[in-house]
Symmetry: C2
Subunit: 193 residues, 2 copies
Amino acid sequence: MKVSREQAALNRERIVDVAARLFREKGYDGIGVADLMKNAGLTHGGFYGHFASKEDLMIEACQHALNKSLEGWRAKVASDPQRALPAIIDSYLTARHRDQPGGGCPAAAMGTDVARMSPGARPAFTQATRQQFALLEGLLPEGGPDGTQERRRQQAISTFAAMVGAMVLARSIDDEALSMEILDAVKAQLLPE
Amino acid sequence: MKVSREQAALNRERIVDVAARLFREKGYDGIGVADLMKNAGLTHGGFYGHFASKEDLMIEACQHALNKSLEGWRAKVASDPQRALPAIIDSYLTARHRDQPGGGCPAAAMGTDVARMSPGARPAFTQATRQQFALLEGLLPEGGPDGTQERRRQQAISTFAAMVGAMVLARSIDDEALSMEILDAVKAQLLPE
DNA sequence: ATTATCTATAGATCTATAGATAATGC
DNA sequence: ATTATCTATAGATCTATAGATAATGC
């Protein structure tokens, strides 16, 4: 029954990884500890050897998801800084992202959950949001006479807000054409030709 | 024990009204039927005389909240069409709205819940979102050479997306200054002087 | 000997229903 | 007589814990 210390650490990581996916897909209350553990290939009771509570797992799952999300953005910056902004916006505002919340933006998938019931996860969201704004700010074009530092930050914040809102709206409706129109309209607005 | 037919209808409305508030505040899974009924001044068992299931109440509560929200926007248009756009945006992007989700924007408060577990409520969201886009489109300034009909619709969609996203982000973090900066930045972006 | 995991279960909570109650409405 | 509401509870589910088990690591 027992596994090696190394394997136990891997099991813990897998629980966090599974939780980061399933909390985004089903919400904090939409998945139970028993089901989470089954998805990680372990039994219910084993959970409490790794975490003090389900709430604790939620905090780690948020940190994990937020870090992965930021890493994805940073990878785009590293591979092609000039095209990073359109690359981030294009890949965010897609039907693929809309239909796969489990691997997508934590703010769009869990922001409301975190706001209403998970005070412990809010510091992680605060830090990640700050970093996302800073990253976007650095990618915005210098701009014309209006391109002050303050204006660029304002634009970075508005860009991310429009992305998150577009995703929340696109997911909440059941008309495929309107849903795509939302994603495409915000894409066109944020990336004028 | 029994009340008049008229009073029963009022009781039903009160249940929907309470649910529209509490589902936005606590989420669909965050409040139970017993607590909802207690908040409406009734007992648990009486619920099923009015609704077939909790899910059915969710659908009615969404319709109710969405209608109230649209009515608020239309009242602003009726009272002063010229100032309606800034009035809507200004009142949306406030700390007051952020801190009182129970009476606020249904998309920002329940959009994620509806997306993941309430297919029955999605038609209402679809219709309301369509109407909100149309209303905003009519309020946008004619604009310069770029003010085509298509461009105005794109801008209406982007405006609402930015508002919803700003609210979701502002609620998910625990830094008051950053939270206000998000609301103010999106406000400034949407309403340039 | 230690400990990661498992089985089993306690205790709480949640949706929904059954049957009783008492006031309304014909 | 009808029916809106109430009391009580069935049945399911969920978090967390207790104690057993067996492989690891000193």
